[in-house]
């Protein structure tokens, strides 16, 4: 039953991604004005329903496994998708910019697809790790990742709009994307949010190490290093922006580099390096 619901969630996310992107592609084109808003409405409703389902799975798995579900890829990456959707919904709530969904919803969909393909696997979590430290640490880190993914979405939106304005290719009416200034500003705010959350997550994580007695801990863990590199990329971006006016296109490129760094930290380290943090 849970499996079926999960498949359903996967399909809803797929539909939401496709419809949201389709809505952006149709733009404000005159022929499509009526159908576009319907398509976007479907996409957004899908996002909300998908998110509600996903929110249900976390307590369900928690009950099943007896601890916060964060051991296997299935749990972890589904939680990642959940965080991405949550941040997206909050941004829509604050700014009405549903077009962001065209960029972040596909990421969430791919995450759920990976999660689904591992769905039959489970792994036990070592007893000493089963506590609320885990919940706090991972929630903060994943929300930070989600904020960075939103910043990445805004970065792409910026680059597309910039290209259109510079190349003078359209009347700008076909284009539903917000102005350069808005994409840039919102991307920056997401980056700051991400850095704050990531910093808190890392602090919680390092405090946590003080309480773990039975599991060996080494500071030069691959995941820890990768996280610090990611953190550094974003902090440097914020600093350059403050002191040298690095915004706009450069900020957009940094958001994309940061996105790659997040992927390397989250997925790459697990696949290619040995780490304490590895999901089983």
């Amino acid at each position: 039953m849970i499996n079926f619901l999960f498949l359903l969630t996967l399909l809803i996310y797929l539909a939401a991604s496709i419809f949201q992107t389709l809505s952006l592609a149709l733009g404000n084109r005159t022929e499509a004005i009526a159908i576009r808003s319907t398509i976007e409405q479907i996409a957004f409703s899908g996002t909300a329903i998908g998110f509600a389902f996903l929110t249900l799975f976390i307590p369900l798995w928690w009950l099943q496994q007896g601890h916060f579900p964060m051991t296997h890829w299935t749990d972890s990456i589904a939680f990642f998708a959940w965080a991405v959707t949550l941040i997206y919904l909050i941004i829509v709530r604050l700014t009405q910019l549903r077009t962001l969904g065209s960029f972040v919803m596909p990421v969430a969909f791919i995450a759920i697809l990976i999660s689904y393909s591992f769905a039959t696997h489970t792994a036990a979590l070592p007893e000493p790790l089963q506590n609320y430290w885990l919940l706090a640490h991972t929630t903060l880190i994943f929300l930070a990742y989600a904020a960075f993914i939103a910043a990445f979405g805004f970065g792409l939106m910026y680059l597309i709009t910039e290209q259109k304005i510079r190349k003078k290719t359209d009347t700008l009416l076909d284009n539903l994307l917000p102005s350069l200034g808005i994409s840039d500003e919102l991307g920056y705010r997401c980056t700051i949010l991400g850095v704050i959350l990531l910093t808190m997550g890392v602090i919680v994580g390092s405090l946590w190490t003080q309480y773990i007695k039975d599991v060996p801990w080494r500071w030069l863990d691959a995941k820890v290093v990768a996280t610090l590199v990611t953190w550094f990329i974003y902090v440097v971006q914020i600093g350059f922006r403050q002191f040298w006016g690095w915004h706009g296109r450069r900020a957009a490129y940094t958001a994309i580099i940061g996105f790659v760094a997040v992927l390397c930290t989250y997925v790459g380290v697990d696949l290619f390096l040995d780490s304490m943090h590895t999901y089983r």
Binding site: N28, I33, I165, L172, L173, N175, L180, G181, G248
Partner: protein, 433 residues
């Protein structure tokens, strides 16, 4: 059925010399509406007078033919403005019933405007309607007609995009600026050189939130003169373009034979303004800004041709949308006309029912008075009488409504025949609230 007729002239059929002779000033409007109603066989009237059109919408009093009603309006205009009927006929158009409705819907939806989709006409029609209503001109039929015209106008504005997209260079510039900056509030525009177009663009930018205006000219006196209009800062420039450091939007229209703003110096200026966005609008011919400036990060350059291209593409969109809007107008006009006919037939139907019932009531009273019936018998006779009325009226009423719905022109004659044959006293219905 009262004929709804309209006479009018617009930029489509007449030059300004003719339109100005037909125009009604605001003061004249009230008087003209009252005059029309008192002197002619006109029950309701609304006069619309704008710089592009003069139109009179009227509902004729009794039931003259369409042509008679139209003739009446021609006569009114000719006498009121002291013009010959021949010259009027040459430069005006006349519409009847469905065509009048369709025409008003088109006008209100700005499909008949010089720039399709312009936004002023809706307000102008509203003002004309309000003024005529206050003068006692609009009654049940024109009230319905104009209310519907406004809702059709709104429907078209919301369901099509005929009103979106700048169709002038200066508005295109404003729209582009809005695509670049997150807000125009607090931004600074620099007008370099002088020119009507650059002043107009600056004016639109200011009304959209731009707060500071710098006016730069070769001669300080000219700069002061233009700056006064915007409450701006005047300055004289030579080769030093440092004032661009503060400018978020630059409108350039000098007579300089060479490029005034070049890539290399501007790159430097961009660095000094910490790469904040700069939108350069070059409307000078020959051009003022080196085209390569568009390659500088965060600097966006549009010249007059680029802006014209934006406008042309928007106009093309509007044309396409206008076709869709015309469909909506045709469909709404047809529906409204049908409703109006039923609405106009209803009083006759009601009066006929009323008359039958009154006759029956009188006869029943007489009958009950003569014959003493038990309650049960009285009830039976009563219900039989009602049934007879219902059955007698059923077919004629059904056929009348069919005739109306089929757009059968005969129904007006049916109505008239009914009214005359049965000597009905028909009162017009009040519109539903």
């Amino acid at each position: 059925m009262h004929p709804i007729v309209s006479i009018g002239t617009s930029h489509h059929v007449a030059p300004i010399e003719f339109r100005e002779k037909l125009a009604f000033s605001e003061a004249q409007l009230t008087e003209a509406v009252q005059h029309l109603r008192e002197t002619y066989q006109v029950q309701e009237a609304v006069i619309l007078s704008t710089c592009n059109r003069v139109e009179v919408y009227a509902v004729a009093n009794s039931m003259p033919s369409n042509d008679a009603a139209a003739k009446m309006l021609v006569e009114f205009l000719s006498r009121y403005h002291r013009m010959s009927i021949e010259s009027l006929k040459k430069c005006t158009y006349l519409h009847h019933n469905l065509e009048t409705i369709r025409h008003l819907f088109r006008v209100t939806a700005s499909l008949d405007s010089m720039v399709v989709g312009e936004s002023q006409i809706l307000g102008q029609v509203k003002a004309a309607y309000d003024a005529s209503r206050e003068a006692g001109g609009a009654g049940t039929i024109l009230n319905r007609l104009f209310t519907k015209a406004f809702s059709v106008g709104k429907r078209i504005r919301s369901e099509t995009t005929i009103t979106t997209g700048a169709v002038s260079i200066s508005y295109a510039a404003v729209e582009l600026a809005k695509k670049i900056f997150n807000t125009l509030e607090g931004k600074t525009v620099a007008i370099v050189g002088a020119g009507e177009m650059s002043e107009l663009t600056a004016k639109h930018l200011v009304s959209n939130g731009v707060s500071n205006v710098i006016v730069a000219n070769r001669t300080y006196e000219r700069a002061v003169k233009i700056a006064e209009k915007f409450n701006g800062t005047p300055l004289a420039y030579d080769s030093n373009l440092d004032f661009l450091i503060d400018a978020d939007i630059v409108i350039s229209s000098t007579n300089a034979p060479d490029y005034l703003i070049k890539r290399q110096p501007l790159t430097d200026i961009m660095r000094r303004r910490r790469h904040r966005y700069m939108f350069l609008i070059d409307i000078a011919v020959p051009r003022d800004v080196e085209p390569d400036v568009n390659k500088i990060n965060h600097a966006f350059l549009y010249n007059i041709d680029d802006l014209e291209a934006v406008v042309a593409s928007n106009l093309k969109d509007r044309q396409q949308e206008a076709t869709r809007a015309e469909q909506i107008v045709t469909e709404e006009a047809k529906r409204f006309y049908d409703q109006l006919q039923i609405f106009q037939v209803n009083p006759t139907i009601k009066a006929l029912h009323q008359q039958f019932r009154e006759i029956a009531d009188t006869e029943l009273q007489a009958c009950f008075y003569k014959a003493s019936l038990t309650d049960q018998q009285a009830a039976a006779v009563n219900s039989m009488t009602q049934a007879i009325i219902k059955k007698l009226l059923h077919d004629p009423m059904k056929n009348l409504r069919y005739a109306v719905n089929d757009g059968d022109a005969d129904h007006a004659q049916y109505v008239q025949a009914l009214q005359e044959l049965f000597a009905l006293d028909v009162k017009d219905e009040e519109p539903e609230p």
